[in-house]
C-alpha cells in the first residue's frame, strides 16, 4: 500500500491520484462493514437485551420447554425425511441427463421463492380435510391439520429445497470417473452411491443439511396456517415467540435468544461432524 501511495505521489495528480486509486477498495470495505453490522445487530441486540439470567428463566418456563422440545422433535423428523428421500433424488438429478430435467429442477426449487403464507394455503389445499388428497388421507386414518404430523409436513415442504440444491451441487462436483472406476472395480450402482458418491459429497451434503435445518427451526408461516399454534402439539419455538410477543416481550426476547443459540449450535455441530467423518 505504501509503495502504491509513493508511486501515486510521483505520478501526475499527487495526493489526488492516490485518492483516485484508493476509492474503490475503500468502497468495498465500507460495503462489507455495513453488511456485517446490519446483519449481526439484531442478533447481538437479542442477547444484550435478554441477558444470561433471563435466558435461563425462559428455559425454566414449562411452555417454553414444550415449544423447544417440539421444535427439536419435529425438525429432527423432518430432516430425517429430507435426507433419506432427498439424497438419492439429488443424486439422480446431478448425475443423469434426461428429458425434462431442467423442469424437474425448477419444480423442486419452487418452494424456495414461495411466501410462507402461500405455502401454508397450498398445503391446506392439497392435504387439508377438503383438499386434493384430503379424502384419501382421511380414509387412511391420517390427520395432519392441527396435528404434530402436520408441523413435520410443513417443515419438510419449506426446507427440502435447501437440502436438494446443495446436495445436487455436491454430487455434481464428484469426479464422474470415480463412478466409472468404482464400477470397473466390481461395485454396483447402489454400492457406488453409498461407498463413493455420498462420502465424497459429504461436506456439501452437510452444508445443505445445516441450511435446511436452520430454515426448519425458524419456520413460522406455513406451520401456523397448516398446523395451527397449540401448545405442546403444534406450537414450535417461533410460534411460541409470536404468541408471547404481544403480552410478554421480555419472554419472547429470551426465547428468541434460545432459538438463536440452538440454531447456531446445530449448524456448527453438523459441519463439525461432517468434517470429522472425512478424516
Amino acid at each position: 500500500m505504501a509503495g502504491a501511495a509513493a508511486q501515486g505521489a510521483g505520478a501526475p495528480g499527487g495526493v489526488g491520484g492516490a485518492l483516485r486509486r484508493a476509492w474503490f477498495p475503500a468502497l468495498l470495505g465500507i460495503a462489507l462493514t455495513a453488511t456485517v453490522l446490519f446483519l449481526t445487530l439484531p442478533i447481538v441486540a437479542i442477547f444484550v437485551d435478554s441477558g444470561p439470567g433471563r435466558l435461563l428463566d425462559a428455559l425454566g418456563d414449562p411452555s417454553s420447554r414444550d415449544a423447544l422440545r417440539l421444535s427439536l422433535v419435529t425438525t429432527t423428523i423432518a430432516m430425517a425425511v429430507v435426507v433419506v428421500v432427498g439424497t438419492p433424488a439429488a443424486y439422480l438429478l446431478a448425475t443423469r441427463r434426461f428429458r425434462g430435467r431442467e423442469l424437474v429442477v425448477t419444480l423442486v426449487e419452487l418452494p424456495l421463492v414461495l411466501p410462507p403464507a402461500v405455502a401454508g394455503i397450498g398445503l391446506l389445499a392439497a392435504l387439508g380435510p377438503r383438499g386434493l388428497l384430503g379424502g384419501a388421507l382421511e380414509d387412511a386414518g391420517i390427520r395432519l391439520v392441527l396435528e404434530t404430523a402436520g408441523v413435520v409436513v410443513a417443515l419438510v415442504f419449506v426446507s427440502a429445497p435447501f437440502f436438494l440444491r446443495a446436495a445436487q451441487t455436491a454430487f455434481a462436483a464428484v469426479d464422474p470417473r470415480w463412478h466409472e472406476a468404482s464400477r470397473t472395480l466390481g461395485a454396483s450402482e447402489a454400492r457406488t452411491f453409498v461407498r463413493i458418491a455420498v462420502p465424497a459429497a459429504l461436506p456439501g451434503l452437510a452444508a445443505g443439511l445445516a441450511l435446511a435445518w436452520g430454515r426448519a427451526l425458524g419456520e413460522f408461516g406455513a406451520t401456523l396456517m397448516f398446523a395451527g399454534s397449540f401448545r405442546g402439539i403444534t406450537q414450535t419455538v417461533p410460534l411460541a415467540i409470536y404468541d408471547r410477543f404481544a403480552t410478554d416481550f421480555d419472554g419472547a426476547l429470551a426465547l428468541s435468544a434460545v432459538l438463536v443459540a440452538v440454531s447456531a449450535g446445530l449448524l456448527l455441530s453438523v459441519k463439525l461432524i461432517a468434517r470429522d467423518a472425512l478424516r
Binding site: 469426479d175 470415480w178 466409472e180 472406476a181 464400477r183 470397473t184 472395480l185 466390481g186 461395485a187
Partner: protein, 357 residues
C-alpha cells in the same frame, strides 16, 4: 483371449473397430487425439454402450447387441487404469486398493491391499496417504495396484504414462513394460505416442478417424507403413509427391515431390503418394559434394533448425517441403550446420517407403 467388434457414433466420429488380443499379450491402440481410442476402451469396459457390436472375453460374452446381451461393468472384471488414474480422493491409498477387494472377507482386505501396494513399491507410510498427497508416479502405482488387485480378466490402460512428468516417465514406462510382459490376461493400451506404443505393446494398431488403419509389431509399422499417416505417426519424415515413372532396368520408382525435387525408391507406387524415410537414415553433406550412385537420393536443402536431443542432433530442413534428419554432434560441427546453411540431404532409395497418402 479378447475379441471385440464394435460400431458406434460419438459426435462426428464414426467408430468401426474389430480387434482381438490373445491372453498374455498387449495390444497398443495408438493414434492422434479424437481418433476414438478411449471410446474403444470404455465400450470394452461397459462404461459406454455401442450402437452395434460383440465383445467376448475368456469364453464369456460381455456384449452382443444382436442377441440383447450387455453385461454391466461390475460383472465384466476389467482392470481399468484411467488416464489420470481416477483414484478416490476421499480415501487413502490402501483404501483405494481395498475397495476392489470386496470379495475377500473384510478383515483380510487391509493386509492384502498393503501387500499389493508393497509389490508396487508403495510402503505402509505412503499407503495411509490420500491421493492428493502422493506424487504422480506414486499415484500411477497405486492405480495399477487397485486395477490388478481383484485379478481382472482383462487389463485396460488409458494413456498410462501421460500424467507423469518427463523424469518419472522413462522409469515408469520400463516398470510397466515388465509388468505387462508378466501379465497372463489380455491387455489393451491406448496411447497417442508411438514410442510408448512400441515400448509397451506386443503389437500396435494405429487408429485414425475411428478405423484401424494398420496393425503389426512396432518394428513392422516403422519399416513398412501402410500409409503416409502411419509413417508420420511412427516418426518418419513424410514428403508428398507423384510417381513419374518406373524404370524397368534399375527397378526404381521415381517420384516428383510437390514443390520441387525428385526422389527414387525401391518400393512400387502409383499416382499421388507419400514418401517417407526415418530421420536416422538421412545423412547431410556439404552443398558442393560429389554425386553418389543412383541408388542414393540427393536433395538440396536449407537448414531451418538445429535441435540437440541427447547425443543426437535433429536437423530441420526445407526441401522446400519440411524434412528432418538426425545426425551426430560431430557432423554438425564438421559441416558448420546452422539455420540458413545450404546442404545436401542424402539417403538410400532402399530406405525410402512409398505409400498411399
Amino acid at each position: 483371449m479378447l475379441s471385440v467388434e464394435l460400431r458406434t457414433r460419438i459426435g462426428a466420429l464414426d467408430l468401426d473397430v474389430a480387434l482381438d488380443v490373445p491372453a498374455g499379450r498387449c495390444l497398443a491402440l495408438a493414434g492422434p487425439s479424437g481418433a476414438g481410442k478411449t471410446t474403444v476402451l470404455r465400450a470394452i469396459a461397459g462404461l459406454l454402450r455401442p450402437d452395434a457390436g460383440r465383445i467376448d472375453c475368456g469364453g464369456a460374452t460381455w456384449l452382443d447387441t444382436a442377441g440383447g446381451v450387455a453385461l454391466a461393468p461390475e460383472l465384466r472384471g476389467c482392470g481399468y487404469l484411467f488416464q489420470d488414474y481416477a483414484l478416490f480422493g476421499h480415501l487413502s491409498a490402501w483404501r483405494n486398493v481395498a475397495y476392489g477387494l470386496h470379495e475377500l472377507p473384510r478383515r483380510e482386505r487391509r493386509p492384502r491391499a498393503l501387500e499389493l501396494l508393497a509389490s508396487f513399491g508403495i510402503g505402509e507410510r505412503l499407503a495411509g496417504k490420500r491421493p492428493a498427497q502422493l506424487s504422480g508416479g506414486e499415484r500411477q502405482r497405486v492405480a495399477l495396484a487397485r486395477a490388478l488387485g481383484p485379478r481382472p480378466r482383462l487389463l485396460l490402460l488409458d494413456e498410462p504414462l501421460s500424467a507423469l512428468d518427463a523424469r518419472t516417465r522413462a522409469g515408469a514406462g520400463r516398470e510397466l513394460a515388465r509388468l505387462l510382459r508378466a501379465l497372463e490376461v489380455p491387455a489393451v493400451l491406448v496411447t497417442h505416442d508411438f514410442g510408448e506404443a512400441a515400448l509397451l505393446g506386443d503389437e500396435v494398431a494405429v487408429l485414425d478417424g475411428g478405423r484401424i488403419v494398420q496393425r503389426g509389431t512396432a518394428a513392422r509399422l516403422a519399416a513398412a507403413p501402410a500409409s503416409g499417416f502411419v509413417a508420420d505417426f511412427t516418426g518418419a519424415a513424410v514428403l508428398t509427391g507423384r510417381v513419374n515413372e518406373r524404370h524397368g532396368d534399375s527397378g526404381l520408382t521415381v517420384i516428383a515431390l510437390d514443390g520441387g525435387g525428385v526422389v527414387s525408391a525401391t518400393d512400387a507406387g502409383e499416382g499421388d503418394v507419400a514418401v517417407s524415410v526415418h530421420p536416422w537414415e538421412v545423412t547431410i553433406e556439404p552443398a558442393a559434394s560429389a554425386a553418389g550412385g543412383s541408388a542414393h537420393n540427393r536433395l538440396e536443402a536449407e537448414v531451418v533448425s538445429v535441435t540437440e536431443i541427447g547425443n543426437r542432433v535433429r536437423v530441420g530442413l526445407a526441401l522446400p517441403q519440411p524434412f528432418t534428419a538426425e545426425v551426430t554432434r560431430a557432423s554438425v560441427e564438421r559441416l558448420g550446420l546452422a539455420p540458413g546453411a545450404r546442404v545436401v540431404a542424402v539417403w538410400k532409395a532402399a530406405a525410402t517407403r512409398v505409400t498411399p497418402r
